[in-house]
Symmetry: C2
Subunit: 526 residues, 2 copies
Amino acid sequence: MRALVAHEVLRTAAEQGTGGEVVDGSLRVPYADVYRRALRLADSLKRLGVGSGTVLGVMDVNSLRNLELHYASSMLGAVILTINFRLSAHDLLYTIRHAEAEWLFVWEGFAPAVGKLRSAFPKTWVWLTDGPQSPEPGTPSCEELVESGAEHLPAEADRVEETDPFSIFYTTGTTGRPKGLKYRHRDMLLASLGILHHLALHPAGASAGSRDVFMPAIPFFHIHGWGAALFVPYLGAKLVLPGRASPAEQLRLIQGEGVTWTNMVPTQIHMLLEQADAAGVQSLSGLKVLTGGSPLPTGLAHQMRERRMAFSLIYGGSDQLATSISVLPPGVEPDSPEAWEALRREMKPLSMVDVRLVDEEGRALPRDGHSIGRVLVRSPWLPAGYYKDPERSATTFVDGWFRTGDLAVTTPGGAVYVVDREGDAVKSGGEWIATGVLEALISEHASVAAVAVVARPDERWGQRPLAVVQARGEVTEEVLRAHLMACVENGRLARFWLPDSYVFVDALPTTSAGKLDKTALRTMLV
Amino acid sequence: MRALVAHEVLRTAAEQGTGGEVVDGSLRVPYADVYRRALRLADSLKRLGVGSGTVLGVMDVNSLRNLELHYASSMLGAVILTINFRLSAHDLLYTIRHAEAEWLFVWEGFAPAVGKLRSAFPKTWVWLTDGPQSPEPGTPSCEELVESGAEHLPAEADRVEETDPFSIFYTTGTTGRPKGLKYRHRDMLLASLGILHHLALHPAGASAGSRDVFMPAIPFFHIHGWGAALFVPYLGAKLVLPGRASPAEQLRLIQGEGVTWTNMVPTQIHMLLEQADAAGVQSLSGLKVLTGGSPLPTGLAHQMRERRMAFSLIYGGSDQLATSISVLPPGVEPDSPEAWEALRREMKPLSMVDVRLVDEEGRALPRDGHSIGRVLVRSPWLPAGYYKDPERSATTFVDGWFRTGDLAVTTPGGAVYVVDREGDAVKSGGEWIATGVLEALISEHASVAAVAVVARPDERWGQRPLAVVQARGEVTEEVLRAHLMACVENGRLARFWLPDSYVFVDALPTTSAGKLDKTALRTMLV
């Protein structure tokens, strides 16, 4: 009987001899060799005292050594803490201490930036290096640990239970301290493989199968690259790890390695397309992108279409994992205008996932395609709560349902269309105005580079929408009002949703994860 | 948190509103209504005393009511016993008693055949009927139970654990008493969904996705129709249930309902193609068949190809569930001659499944494409052993590995090519001769309708092969010897594998499952 534990995935890939390999820079390593290297790393770590429950912090880009560390940690029953290196120094240290990390594995590329951390965290350090040598005498490199280890599966590996913890990571919310999530092996496996299976079972933009070549550009500290660190080895497919690749290097990898599948937030896609423009690359035909994390601007979607790329949207997060992904609805053919619209909006829940909309009294709302409600989620992989935070857990994970804090509409066909964060939406005269929908419509205007809509207190209505616009060239408030009035007239927008006022700025603030920072914006403006 | 229990699958299909439906005769029932009917059936059964652990025997063809009973049973924590109605009356009663069934649900179409069973099994009977009326006064029909039940999920449903038993069924071996297997919810779900995921992730002949229309022709008593009773509702796809359809009716359903995917043993495919010939249907393009259970004769494979059908082979069984399925190897294109050969022979283990070959001393054999060894299997869904048979369990399920009793070769790419049953193979001078391989080569001759090779005792070699041939028209021993000599000369056959003698018969004996009955043959001939 094999359990749903992470290292069984790599063991299968190694033993089945799939022919797949992992590419990292000049390294090309078949899965059987990745497995052998993980065995040796686990053996070395074991002799240095790593065991069941030891928390191993890793601060690295998407690299082979990071991948191997995931699996070596699993073999010992240890817990991998994937550290968001984009956090402030203060939050970064907070998460490492909160997670009770005993080891830190840090990429040498971060050495200049982590001087303070080095002294604040006196426990065991290991340097992750591109070559064999550690940059610091007396502190080993991970490669040295791989080289000195014996190539056999530690006895601990077969005692790891699927209900044992596999990883910890922290949310990158815009308010308060980062919140910790500790996931069990089976939860992380079922959710990660759930993404892959969804993309294989349903006709999706970002469809996936064993003949694809995968380059996860979402960092592993975001839910293991949205699951790719687990589901690509599970599939045995070719995995290209981009490290700290610039958009130019990403483009070269896509073309040189035959990458057909990637995941990126919209900002990353935008940068890749700018690079493609600069390099004179007209078409990226055959490249499929799973995107999410923030709304996909209409203009960016059109740019992808022009370059013959395909995409799906994923909805989920650190505290719920994968919940839904856009696919082609029944009867809709690829490349049709309906397909294009559906893939931009309508997300289908993953198998075994329940998505429910409720009103403010908790009553279920109909799946009618227009009622906006709060999104509750139930799935096989929901965590019990936030790590060491019973109070917040009790208000967020209620009766087996996760309160996402998002607002959405659902269609009679079961699709979910997330329109806003509850904290971001505007409550005008008792009715929700979805700022995400407004932003999408405003950004359709060619002279809008970026836009954010925030709530402004209003004596009569409670709140009213304010649009903050980053312009591309010349644009005036009157022009945007006329643009939105056209949307009202053709039925795409309710009249009471029209913003009361407009502010023009040079740049919009973003969070460490590259998302629009509406909290900062509200502080600045309202 | 949702657990991996069977009724959660139907609940998801109902709540996600996939647009899929179940077709049975003139009935077309959306999944939401199938779910509601299952709720009402569960409510009625609960009020009649069915609860956690109650064993519900069902003797039925693949019908909507059978499907609903699966899920109603799951909601109550009861255990469904899927009865092989092709067993002898003696074995049939044995399995019902051995499983400790307390209820029997019997299709009215079997009424004429089960008179004896009716008196031998005095516990609760329910008739499964095509209309609402029970054929027997005082004994309810299942439809009456559906109609009288309340439409709410019983409280028991959320207490069912994924480690609770879901179903019991019995092997249809050719020797000894049927052996019982009792599977837990998670095992049956993971194995069933594993088949679907494999067919979606890898380029297979019988590839599957949510746009396919499924008609499982494997009876539900064979591992729930090789998992289809679970994985089609999970997918939310259209499910056509053929009942006791004749080949002519199957053909009409395939054409009328747009069936694109079916599962059948080779005998069923043969009958379908005969029917297609009779009906003048030249092409069954777009029809994908998952086949297995017995070797696929070369001639039948060619007939499928001529009709533009696609297929994959599945390897597994009642006591190991799904183990491997043929897919296109890396680099092989569909419709190429290599694809054709690979799909006929090379089976790729499902994800998270280990297949190991060992010699008689239990030493692992190399994956070299020619060493024949005993097949051991390990997977997430292996049972602990046979139900109430600790002795046989102890020799068959050893150290977490299932001893399949099969012989195979494995390729460097990890594919598995099963060549024979250990008990069927010929051991000549200490070397295995795979009768399955010999049969495939002999059946390539146009004048051979069917062939079986069995071992005959031999003083010098221990055993030697004897070919038993069912001819199609005129054929002689000399003709077949010449045909096989050509195979020796072009390297497809070792000279010492050549059968020593040939016997011609009118028909070969088969088991209740429609498989060639080599035990009967050996008894007759050797």
